[in-house]
Amino acid sequence: MSEQKPPHFTNREARKRSVSNSTESQMPANHSSKTPSNQHAFKGRQRISLRAGLAVMGGRAAGALSRRLHLGGGTSIAGMVAQRLYPDIVGHLSTQLAHGSVLVTGTNGKTTTSGLIAAILNDAGLRVWRNREGSNLMQGVAGALVIRARPDGNLRRAGQAISIFEVDEAVMPQAVQILPPRAAIFTNLFRDQLDRFGEVETISMRWHQAIDLLPENATLVLNADDPGTAHLSDFFHGQVVFFGIDDSSFDLANEGLAIESHQVIDTRTCPHCGGEYVYSIQYYSHLGHYICSQCRRERPKADVRAVKIVAESIDRLRIQIETRTQQGEIVIPLAGFYNVYNALAAIATSQALGINWEPIVSGIEQFKPAFGRGERVHVEGRTLRLLLAKNPTGFNEVLRTLFSDGIRRYVLFVLNDNTADGQDISWIWDVDFERTTHHLATLTVAGTRAFDLALRLKHAGLEQEAMTIVASAPLRALKVAHESKVRNTRQHRPARNKEAIRNTHMIELDDSITNHRTTKTYGISHALDTAIRQTPSGETLFVIPTYTGLLEIHRELEHRGLTPRYWEERGP
């Protein structure tokens, strides 16, 4: 094992302490006005509980073990064990947070939105706790709390603390029940992982349940432009804040591109009467200014709105914001029009929590994108930019960001169909790859379903010779490699086999079809090398992976010492 050892727990403790001390000491009188004023029911309540203590110790031991065995960050496992030992551990710990918690859900933009909220609250002088991206099921939420708890079952330094959890769409009802939030944010609803959720409608039903369980003193933050989230306000009697875009210059009709008619629409009809929605402005997919053609219910007026958006460069969006109390300009340092929505959601939430304008501006403008959301990695003189794309609308928007200014791009696509990606990849046929055809400098296609994606690109009009396909190791080869490895190393360390096979990227294959031996190269490591080699020095390589593709790329970059291990990444 060549990679660096996990840092000692005490070091991280010390670092965390020094950071938290500095934020506390940076909180003079003028900051106190920025901290939330409506603390009502969220006074930190600490009480000794033997059972909670046991759960915390068990969970943390499991997490430490998982890290020691290099299985991962260990937050999910910590949460799972703790929940097993004390099912109400989340409820027990969350009531101790002085400023309560915020839940963010939706198909796209969960991570960036919760990241932006965290950055803003951090600038406002709060101590922000988050669950790691990807650990957005209940055990991930539980884990995020457990690793910050003491063995007596109480949270460490719960004063000034607020937790922001991104929650998987489907577990929102449980999350709301166990962890009554101060604010619940629904970013948008698109088709995603149909093999897991069944249909888009299933999620909509879960969200109705979640809203029913939401306490009335909570604030509901909804995307006014998405009819799939906006109608949720009908089920809630408390305060609702809508955010939306009021800039008609980004209407799809203005782009004048015929290919834009290939939008994937996931909310087509009004939930009240079944009438079709008609759009006066359509930004993308079913997002825009809509009205039902039958019952005339229309998009609610946005309370937090972007009235003017100027794209200054690929990742600089200057937006003019108007809220009920504030007007101002903010520069979003992120790539992609969809990040306007993420920023608006963060502004709406922060204002609902009583945060002043200055930390909102500074939080957003100094925001560093999370891994895979457009951040830069420097590799051998090239810049790597990773843009996660996990469903048709997300993918379409990433392509729109990259391929609308006529610049030829160097691109690596990674399409996987593991459980976390969704095993059904039919959705690639709904993605507008047609728009990439004349704007690609070089293209590498990788992942478990590289051939499917290559096939899709071929149908989009790309020449087969124009792409380099680097498939994952075919199962045939894996089987052979596995069998020989098992045979050779059974006595020694069978646990290492999996890793060894995963890292095998040169496989000699006795090709029964063409009857000659060929050596083929496979795997993400080789794909990355190929793509980097094809990108001239000084240029930018855009890596567009699905979810597990992103994790593989990350693992690969870790091995090369280019990024820290993801659980060592320090959020804001």
């Binding site: 088709r191 149909l194 093999d195 069944g198 249909e199 888009v200 409608e201 290939h262 994937v264 629409i265 087509r268 009809t269 079944g274 095993q423 059904d424 990849i425 039919s426 959705w427 690639i428 046929w429 709904d430 379903r449 051939f451 499917d452 290559a454 096939l455 899709r456 071929k458 149908h459 087969q464 498939a471 075919p474 199962l475 045939r476 029964s512 079809i513 063409t514």
Partner: protein, 287 residues
């Protein structure tokens, strides 16, 4: 091939309910038909038929119906019975090739019985019916491979309802996966030149032989008595198609079938680029 010598051949595809039934990458099926025709100098026009549009059977050479959400299937079922039933029946009885995937397949059977609520009537083209036993019954989800006339078809299935065949002939036998109902190893249904199937993923891109069969059926019906349709189905470079096809077979553990599939594209001998035994009897009769 000299273009001047070829007669100008046009086919028209009617795409039913593209706005409502579009959940599982159905655009892939349309694109594949379009591309495979285009590569052979055949012009394929696609006409979208939405709710309220009449279906004139003599205007189309092939028809396609995709799958959608349950919520959006009710108005579609209504429209199918009220407005399109006579035209669609006439088209089907006139041997127009029809491909119905997932929800479209269910709509062409007798009825769909949801866990709660009234039955949804279908067109009854296939002597089959679908029963949804409710949320407690797991959905049929995952990769699927079937044996279709001695060849494999691969796809992905994702359906809550179970379809049971009466006298309808199945499209194929399930090798791995659920198929119609995960009980009797049947998948899909065939009536004349109409194919109903649960397989998406999309179906046609990874099954070029089936796509060609579908095109050949349309050509034979429309131009059959004047020209030999197979002269137009020149072999294409289907390397990627068969690699993707074989990948699914390998994943399902069907290694021999995968090797057969990979061998297909290196087999230069066949004019059709597909093994001979899958040229359906129906086409031969027409010739």
């Amino acid at each position: 091939m000299n273009d001047d010598l070829l007669p100008h051949i046009t086919l028209t595809l009617g795409h039913l309910y593209p706005d409502q039934l579009n959940l599982y990458g159905d655009r892939g099926n349309i694109l594949t038909l379009q591309r495979r025709c285009q590569f052979r100098g055949i012009e394929l026009r696609v006409v979208e038929l939405g709710i309220g549009d009449a279906l004139a059977p003599d205007e189309y050479d092939m028809l396609f119906i995709g799958g959608g959400q349950d919520k959006e299937q009710a108005p579609v079922a209504q429209d199918l019975l009220d407005i399109k039933s006579i035209g669609l029946w006439a088209a089907i009885e006139d041997d127009i090739p029809v491909l119905a995937v997932c929800g479209g397949y269910q709509l062409l059977a007798h009825y769909y019985r949801p866990a709660d609520g009234p039955d949804m009537r279908g067109l009854g083209v296939f002597d089959a019916w679908t029963i949804h036993k409710g949320a407690q019954e797991p959905r049929c989800t995952g990769d699927i491979a079937i044996n279709w006339n001695g060849n494999t078809l691969v796809g992905f299935e994702n359906h809550g309802g179970r379809t049971y065949l009466g006298t309808a002939k199945p499209l194929g036998k399930v090798l791995k996966g659920h198929g119609n109902n995960s009980e009797d190893h049947t998948e899909g249904a065939v009536y004349r030149n109409s194919f109903g199937t649960y397989m998406h993923g999309s179906l046609l891109p990874k099954n070029p032989h089936f796509a060609d069969h579908f095109i050949a059926l349309a050509l034979a019906r429309t131009y059959g008595r004047r020209d030999d349709p197979f002269t137009f189905l020149t072999p294409l470079d289907d390397t990627l198609e068969w690699e993707a096809h074989a990948f699914i077979l390998e994943r399902l553990g069907l290694y021999n079938a995968a090797a057969d599939a990979l061998r297909t594209y290196t087999d230069v001998g066949t004019i059709l680029h597909i093994p001979k035994n899958q040229v359906s009897l129906r086409v031969n009769e027409t010739l």
